[in-house]
Amino acid sequence: MRTPYAELLTVLARHRGVLGSFVVSERDGIAVDSNVQIGVQAEAVAALAASLHRKARLACGAAGGGKVTFLRLDAERGGICAAGRDDLVLVTISESRANIGLLRVEMMRAAKALT
């Protein structure tokens, strides 16, 4: 079934180095829609990304930093980016060669349209 997020996930997936993207519910960690390459364990990663986003949101709130707009988890060969709105979080998985700056702008713009 095609969801309202299919198009934006497709756009994100076209970025260089992006292995996949999905929209996940922060509350329960369940992926609402995804567009990932074969071999990517979308469900497990979606749940973990949602949990990280939630922890970051709570920590930011406690620190008086306000609402989280963008999150980036870096690893040796790539990482995860997340941008949320209300309960929904847009997540991308990327390799090191991805242009994170461009991806960030695209994700923050797309996150504003999440409903």
Binding site: L52, K55, L58, A59, A62, A63, G64, G79, I93
Partner: protein, 285 residues
């Protein structure tokens, strides 16, 4: 002390343009609340940039934070504004002494007037240190002799920084008042550092608790993806940028800066805080 701080805070709130920020900042410094003291002093100096005593107070805060370079800058500014400022000379002498430049310390302290509290005693200690270094004898039983013994505390007349306090672990690597750093263990308990929110409240424990388990989840996510070990987590929010990185013993170094701080600078700050945390953990663990 708490009553004094409360009273001075009330006074400052009633008249923000008054000079009461100086005793307030100094009281906060003496209470070990360096971040808040620094904020109060800097705000006061925005209004009163030409008050030598205000620069002296700020210098003492920097010195207690272990930032001798900035302390020296402020004491030099105090001296430029008031060439007879004895406490500034005493402070600069202290810094020279700490750097092992006893000759310069002696010159500075000799130029201070007799009425400056502590100058004569400090000068005596510096001369003793000079004599000891050049192989001269220091009379047994003299105060200077006692102070030069290995088990003696540092010269008490100087505002010696206390870097052993874990809460101030990261003070030397933080560049301005909007930056904070924390070292959090795997259970979300604060090991070192502090985080003060915009109202001046210390919210370190709450922030640390909310971050419990972050390291484990980041590690699991990366394992599922086969992208290697996680190196950092950067969170951009409306009013702050928060960055964290794994540290030894399953701990987490967390730094926070205002939203205006460039992200690259936050990452640099994170690297510096991590280096300091590693050193500290190696000593205490």
């Amino acid at each position: 002390m708490a009553d004094e701080i409360r009273r001075l805070s009330d006074d400052l709130a009633r008249d923000p343009s008054s000079l009461v920020f100086m005793p307030l900042a100094d009281a906060l410094r003496r209470a070990g609340q360096f971040d808040v003291a620094l904020r109060v002093a800097l705000r006061g100096l925005d209004r009163h940039p030409y008050v030598a005593d205000a620069h002296d107070v700020l210098a003492r805060i920097h010195a207690d934070r272990g930032d001798l370079e900035r302390a020296a800058d402020e004491w030099e500014m105090a001296l430029r504004l008031d060439p007879s400022h004895g406490q500034a000379r005493l402070g600069l002498g202290f810094i020279d002494y700490r750097r092992g430049d006893f000759e310069s310390a002696e010159r500075r302290l000799s130029a201070a007037t007799d009425s400056d509290g502590g100058v004569a005693t400090a000068l005596s200690h510096v001369r003793s240190a000079l004599a000891a270094r050049s192989g001269g004898s220091v009379p047994a039983g003299s105060p200077s002799h006692a102070l030069l013994q290995p088990t003696s505390p540092p010269i008490p007349e100087f505002p010696a920084p206390d870097l052993s306090r874990a809460r101030q672990l990261f003070s030397p690597v933080l560049d301005d008042t909007d930056q904070t750093a924390l070292l959090v263990d795997g259970d979300g308990l604060v090991l070192a550092g502090s985080h003060v929110d915009a109202t001046g409240s210390d919210v370190s424990e709450i922030v640390a608790a909310e971050l419990a388990g972050v390291s484990g989840e980041a590690e699991r996510a990366m394992r599922h993806l086969g992208l290697g070990a996680w190196t950092s987590l950067l969170v951009e929010a409306d009013g702050a940028v928060i960055a964290m990185t794994p540290a030894p013993l399953g701990s987490l170094v967390v730094v926070a800066a205002s939203r205006e701080t460039p992200v690259g600078l936050v990452r640099l700050l994170l690297d510096r805080a991590l280096t300091r945390a590693r050193d500290w953990l190696a000593r205490v663990a």
